[in-house]
Every structure is written in structure tokens, then in C-alpha cells.
Amino acid sequence: MEHTSLLERILRGVALTLVVIFFMFPIVWIFMMSFQTNETILRIPPQLIFEPTLANYTALITGKLMTAAGTLDIAFMRNLWNSVFLSVTSVAVSLLLGVPAAYAFARHKFRGSEDIAFTLLSFRFAPALLVLLPLTLYFQKLGLANTYIGLIWVYQLICLPLILWIVRGYFEDIPADIEYAYRIGGHSWFATFRKIALPLAGPGIAAAGLLAFIFAWNNFVFALVLASADKQPVTVGALAFITSSGIQYGQISAAIVLSITPTLALALYAQRYLVEGLSLGAVKG
């Protein structure tokens, strides 16, 4: 253990608390809003003490939104399911395509390999809005607009370069001789990939997958344009709360709480992999 004086520890604690409060405040505030009605939320001045209500969550889960103008159907649970389905499938497809590709780029230098890798990365440079118009036209021609397959395909623009480039770095960090040692011991390159390279890059792959999942989950603009109501993820679905009779802050907050919960849970679960993944370089070959 490092030795620190009492004063130093107190100061450090205070500083950390300030930072945590600063960053956590919006989330805490949203969490509190999700248990309030629009009236209590919009009180001026805002108050910390209120009578909690589960009405927002009930409305979201039952899909019936009561407004001053009447009852409104909302498809939030459907949106949430869409988000889960789209993100999980996109990341799975990206991992399936990206991890072997990353391995190939890391281990085999061939003519144009750098160019191809860079082209794949460049997908992330293009502003989404610039790509969207031609993409929409093509997708309508091909019958891919408003399909899960079409959306998952477009989501590869987000996930694939990310996974490819992060995982490639991890593969490059594994000394090639470890794989050679395995191959010369009487194993094929595919067995080497499965038994040596994949496990050693495992934490990196998990980290890349998690990041890709978060990016896919947070995507808004592709789904907004390419999907209709029944295929929309939560990010787009939240627009439904801006109704003719006003903005439903309570429901929006509850929707946010529900939609960040899966990513948060996943991040907490995968935290140890992330840390392991980042310290992989410390393992001597």
C-alpha cells in the first residue's frame, strides 16, 4: 500500500465526491424525475421532496399514456425490445465478421491489407446524415428499408470498424511466437486461432463488443430514417413523448431509466473484462 497522510486522503475523498456528484447529477435528477408527474417536475423552484409515483412506469409498461387530450398508445416496450434485438444481433454479426478479419489484418500482411483496413475504418469518418439519403433510396429499391436485416446491416457501419480496429490491436499485442510455438507443436492455424489467439485476446474482444453494443444502442439517426414505428429502438421511440398536449417529462425520464439500465448492467458486469483487457499488455510473452 502506498503511504498517504490523513489530510491527503480527506482532500482526495472530497475531490472524488465533487467529481462524482458533478457527473452523476443529471442521471440522479432523471431518476428522480421518473417518479414524478409533469406538474411536480415543472414546479418553480424545483424541489427535492416529492411524493413518488409509479404512474410513469405503469404507462410505459402497459403502453397507455394518459394525457390531458386523452389516452395515447405508445410502443415503448416494443422499442426496448427492438433496441435489444438490433444491438445484440448487430454486435454478434460484427464479432463474427470482425474478429477473424482483425486476426487476418494483424497476422498476415498482404498487398493492400492496410488499405482495406483503413477503408473499413473510414466508414466511421463519414457523417451519417451524408450517407443516409443515398442509403435510403437504395434500401427502398432493394426492399431493405424498414426491415431488421436492413437495420442490422447499416449498424455494421457502427460496430464493425470499432471491433475490427480494437481487436486487431489486441491480436497484434500477442507475440506471434506464442502462436508459432503452438503450431510447431502439431496444431493447424485454425486450432491456433481458436485455442491461443482467441483466449488471449478474449478480454479485448469483450471490451470491443461492449463498446460496439453501447454505440449501437445509442444510435439514433439511422433508425430514425430507415425504420418505421414497429422497428424503432428506444432512442427514436422517445420522440413519441413529445405530444400535442406537451412534453411528457416524467415518461421520458422513466423511459431513459429503463433504456440505460441494460447498458449499465452490461458495463458493470463486463467491467472486470475491460480492466483485464486494458492490462493485457502487461503479460510478458
Binding site: 507475440p175 506464442i178 510455438a181 503450431r183 510447431i184 507443436g185 502439431g186 488471449l200 502487461a282 510473452g285
Partner: protein, 374 residues
């Protein structure tokens, strides 16, 4: 020599396009018999590791063929070459213990558990790593990792064992002990081994024959003794041997029935014509300029002789290395007694023609060693 364990014929290695890329190994041809231990000796970048990796199958052979135990293997994947290798960078599998790492090498052989355990135990004893068998590679020292890696290679039964700098990280005492044990182990089992090293002591101690490489070219492939006594060219002459051979350019002249080898700074080595054997004398007299080489052990101090001036004097505990300014260069001589000579002290040296190595001035190829033609 018994059946051939490895035949390399006309092998070229280019990094990058053939004939345009970096030419790392040039037209290499060598044959290694079964049960031989051969060292590839050379400085960094001489092509020795490239050669080893081509044999193992990690580098493509640009041109030529490689055969292991009579089987052409240079187009086969490493898995089908039946060679074992110890890597310079150890390359142990991080998630496995030392024991598992070594046992893992036997996995493909599908041996019964008890036999694997017995083999691991005996190799671990040989390499003095019994106490770290349950540890993970990241928690042991470089020297221990190197021994584990060596063990992983030696435990296997293969047509060829390739050892890349197998003892570079070990402490000197341990290295000396292990050299003997490993040689005994290899010889006892009749294994064939190729080791890559830049340490000539290691090559001399372990190898039956040494292949000296430089600039991608095999300079000489011979026994340690013959490398010292009959270097094929100036490179092997100066590369093999510690301290290195003294080398001077000389003009060949004759005067009054004597042969003079005129050195820079107006110095001259004078010999009676009959001091050389007839063929050597003819060779000498047919040339105007040669390069002469003298091993430091063969330089004698004498009353008569060519003058030199002491520039350094080191007592190494068992011998003295004296460096002297001589003929525009530096001459090193070794004496077995402790010699007290001050810096700048004048000495006279003489060189017996029996100890003279003569090389061609242009090509560097050996002309004669002592009384015999090269």
C-alpha cells in the same frame, strides 16, 4: 555421417518481392547429419534466425528447397514438418503453468498421463526448474522462462530440434552447467539439433559443427577446431576466436634470398625463403599484396623482432591481453603469465611463419594456413 536429418539446397530468402526485397539469406546450401548438433553463428542480422524460421516454417522460402529427414518440407505448414523449437522470446502460453506449458507440447502425441508426468519431471530436473513447475510464466524470471521454453522444445520427439538463442538469458554459471547437460541429453537420445547463437563459446561448447554466417551468406561450415585453425576467409578468421585475429595488409617482396612482408609504417616481417613450405612460398611470391592474420596466442615477445608500443595491458585473472600500436594499427597478444608492462613501453614481437594465415587481398579468401595451402 549417417542419414541426412536436414538438407538445405540453394535457399534464398527475400523480405519483400523476390529479387527486389531485402535479401536476408543468399543461396544457402548445407547438409546436417542425423544426431549432429549444429550451431548457426553470426552477428545480428546475418540471416541465422531467418534460416531457422524457414526450417520451422514460419517464413516462406523464396527459392530453393529444404528437406527434413529426406522429406521436402519447405512448402508444408509447420504442423507437418515434425520439428520442435525453442523461441528466443520464450513464447510460453501465459494462461498455463510451466508444467502445463511443457506437457502441452506432448498433447499432439497423445501419451498416457503418467508418461507425460515422468517426461516433464525428468526435463524439469535437467533444467533445474522443478520448483517453478506450478508457477505461471508472468511470475517467473526471464532465465526461468527461457529454461521452460527450452524444456518445452526438448521434451518433444521430433526429427529436428531448433533452438533460437536457447541460453541467452541465463547466468554464466548455470549456462555452463546446462550446456553440458543439454549436450549430453541430445547426444544420448540421438536427437538432431540446430541452435542459433551469437555467442561463440556456446557454439564451441555445444556444437559438432558450426555454420558461420554473415550478410546472409554461409561463410564456412566446419568443426570448431577447423574454424579456428583453417578459417576459409578473412571474415571467419576475424569473427571466430577470442580475442580476434590480428590482421594486417602486407606487400610481398624478396631481398637477398629472404621473403619480406612489408607492413605499413615501414615495418617488415622478414623470413628465410625456406621458412615456408614450397607451395605456400610459390603462392606468396605470385602476389604483390596479401592480408596476413595472426592469432593473439601466436604472437611472441622477443628481443629481436619488430618494434611495437604497448597501448593497453589487461590481466584477466588467468591470462594477460596486451594491445600494442603496431604497423599503423593495433596488435593484440595473449600471454599466460601476469605481465607488467607500462603503457607506452616499447616491445619487440616476432611471428612464427607456422602461425601465419595468409588471405587474398581482394577477395578475402584464405590462401594458406601456416605451412599448408588453404
Amino acid at each position: 555421417m549417417s542419414a541426412s536429418a536436414l538438407t538445405i539446397s540453394g535457399v534464398d530468402k527475400f523480405y519483400g518481392p523476390i529479387d527486389r526485397g531485402v535479401h536476408a539469406v543468399k543461396n544457402l546450401t548445407m547438409e546436417i547429419g542425423k544426431g549432429e548438433i549444429v550451431a548457426l553463428l553470426g552477428s545480428s542480422g546475418c540471416g541465422k534466425t531467418s534460416t531457422l524460421r524457414m526450417i520451422a516454417g514460419f517464413e516462406e522460402v523464396s527459392r530453393g528447397t529444404i528437406a527434413v529427414a529426406g522429406r521436402k518440407v519447405h512448402t508444408l505448414p509447420p504442423v507437418r514438418r515434425n520439428v520442435a523449437m525453442a523461441f528466443e522470446g520464450y513464447s510460453l502460453y501465459p494462461p498455463l503453468t510451466v508444467r502445463e506449458n511443457m506437457a502441452f507440447a506432448l498433447k499432439a502425441a497423445r501419451l498416457p498421463r503418467s508418461e507425460v508426468d515422468a517426461k516433464v519431471a525428468s526435463i524439469a530436473k535437467l533444467l533445474e526448474i522443478e520448483d517453478i513447475l506450478e508457477r505461471y510464466p508472468s511470475s517467473i524470471s526471464g532465465g526461468q522462462q527461457q529454461r521452460a521454453s527450452l524444456g518445452r522444445a526438448l521434451i518433444r520427439e521430433a526429427d529436428l530440434h531448433l533452438l533460437d538463442e536457447p541460453m541467452g538469458q541465463l547466468e554464466p554459471q548455470l549456462r555452463a552447467v546446462l550446456r553440458g547437460r543439454i549436450k549430453h541429453f541430445i547426444k544420448e537420445r540421438g536427437l538432431t539439433a540446430i541452435l542459433v547463437t551469437h555467442d561463440q563459446t556456446e557454439a564451441n561448447a555445444l556444437a559438432d559443427r558450426i555454420a558461420v554466417m554473415e550478410g546472409g551468406v554461409l561463410q564456412q561450415f566446419d568443426t570448431p577446431d577447423r574454424l579456428k585453425e583453417r578459417p576459409a576467409n578473412l571474415f571467419t578468421g576475424t569473427f571466430v576466436g577470442e580475442p580476434p585475429m590480428n590482421v594486417f595488409e602486407a606487400f610481398v617482396g624478396t631481398a637477398a634470398g629472404r621473403i619480406n612482408l612489408r607492413l605499413p609504417d615501414g615495418l617488415s616481417l622478414d623470413y628465410d625463403k625456406d621458412a615456408f613450405s614450397a607451395p605456400v612460398r610459390d603462392q606468396l611470391l605470385s602476389r604483390e599484396r596479401v592480408v596476413i592474420g595472426i592469432r593473439p596466442y601466436a604472437v611472441r615477445r622477443s628481443k629481436e623482432g619488430v618494434p611495437a608500443r604497448v597501448s593497453a595491458n589487461q590481466w584477466l585473472g588467468d591470462q594477460t591481453h596486451i594491445a600494442a600500436d603496431f604497423a599503423g594499427g593495433s596488435l593484440v597478444l595473449v600471454e599466460h603469465d601476469r605481465t607488467r608492462l607500462d603503457l607506452g613501453a616499447p616491445i619487440n614481437v616476432s611471428i612464427d611463419p607456422k602461425n601465419l594465415h595468409v588471405f587474398d587481398q581482394a577477395s578475402g579468401m584464405a590462401i594458406s594456413h601456416g605451412m599448408e595451402l588453404a
